[in-house]
Symmetry: C2
Subunit: 227 residues, 2 copies
């Protein structure tokens, strides 16, 4: 599903050069459930942005479902992302002038879903995440954890083949965090490939494989036995 | 230091009314170290915004260091906040067009600190938080946890009497989170009153008193024995 080879990313401006990712080689098979941990600044979000087709690598290759993404122009890059990937951003990235409902509906536009169907599905997913009373609130009228759940709803809504979630429980109390993880586990049982970044070990333990990053490299890669 | 009586906050727009805080009565003495936990949406940030003089209550009273804040006009409200309180926002709230260094320096302007002194102190605090190589990066050139640490630096820089921190370790790996907590404990030993919201119990256990919130009320208030 995901095959990266020597994937590297260096950010550089006039003032500095930051080698955020230093040549990562990694295979993730369809249906896997992977957690990524590592110190702040170790390159986790950078890696997720490359996997999520939100950015281009400086070096190395990325085959997504067999397709070499470096051959795609920007439009095809975006189209592939919208079709295959649901992304939960570390900073949520909701549109501040749209309500929770409209933020989620918007991400269904690309899939060409009809209006009534979009509304119905968006209400379902937001309800699943406990937000049925907050559909018409704007991001600044929602708590941190409510905003995070809207971001999660937006990622799930198109039933993507891959979910990439960057700290999806960072703003949630433990109980709500566990509810999110059982939703992810259910989606994974139905075949969705899941890669999530987390700094909490009890969250990481809901996955079946834990990668540890440090200074732009993967320093550990461990299958975990499921109870 | 903090005395609130029947403090309430209801958000209402044309479309809805949300009673986010339903009458909280609470005393926090100078030098206390308090943690606040509770489900997503239970009113923690709302309470912190009222304590931090970032918002006004719908009902009830707030005495800060003996002063009834309801008597203050908006300018005096802001001036008291800048003098007494260091606030770490759940969403960091950094200015996107200023570097890490300038974001921190800016919050020293109100205190009337001289330019060289501001620069020197800002570099010190950012270095203490591990950001010495990121001083001149903008928020979009920093990782989530680096942005959170800039927000923390900004709250500490004026040596405030009270630190209010809303999920200050939410975006940090466990190791960095523990480093932040030892900094807070050191400040508390020096007399700073600290109130922090967290959903992680091992972080809450660095405090000496844990308040639990649910549905806009405090439902538990427990001193914890320190080892
Ligand atoms: N400006 C607003 N207008 C309307 N409702 C609001 C507004 N701000 C917050 N709320 C609502 O008030 C309730 C309490 O919000 P608050 O941000 O205090 O929760 P919280 O405990 O900090 O949650 P979290 O743990 O998710 O950050 C939530 O249900 C939220 O939807
Ligand atoms: N646009 C950018 N320009 C320059 N440097 C950047 C940029 N984005 C990220 N960086 C740097 O690259 C490194 C890796 O960042 P990244 O966001 O991937 O870390 P992370 O592992 O997600 O950290 P966190 O756990 O704090 O979210 C960091 O040191 C960061 O300062
Ligand atoms: Mg990150
Ligand atoms: Mg909050």
């Amino acid at each position: 599903m995901i095959k990266i080879n020597n994937l590297s990313k260096t950010y550089s401006t006039g003032a500095f050069t930051v080698p955020a990712l230093k040549g990562i080689t990694l295979d993730i098979a369809p249906g896997e459930f992977v957690a990524i941990t590592g110190a702040s600044g170790s390159g986790k979000s950078t890696m997720m942005n490359l996997l999520g087709l939100l950015d281009r690598p400086s070096e190395g290759s990325y085959l997504l479902d067999g397709m070499d993404v470096s051959n795609l122009n920007d439009d095809d890059y975006a189209r592939l992302r919208n079709r295959k990937i649901g992304f939960v951003f570390q900073a949520f990235n909701l549109l501040p002038r749209l309500t929770a409902l409209k933020n989620v509906e918007l991400s269904m536009l690309y899939a060409g879903t009809k209006h009534e169907e979009r509304r119905k599905r968006a209400v379902e997913v937001l309800t699943l995440l406990g937000l049925e009373d907050r559909l018409h609130h704007f991001p600044n009228e929602l708590s941190g954890g409510q905003n995070q759940r809207v971001a999660i709803a937006r990622a799930l809504i198109n039933n993507p083949a891959i979910i990439l979630a960057d700290e999806p429980t960072g703003a949630l109390d433990s109980q709500t965090g566990l509810e999110i993880m059982s939703i992810f586990q259910e989606l994974n049982r139905q075949g969705t490939t899941i890669v999530l970044v987390t700094h909490e070990l009890n969250i990481a333990r809901h996955s079946r494989r834990i990668l540890r990053m440090a200074d732009g490299l993967i320093i550990n890669d461990e299958e975990i036995a499921r109870p």
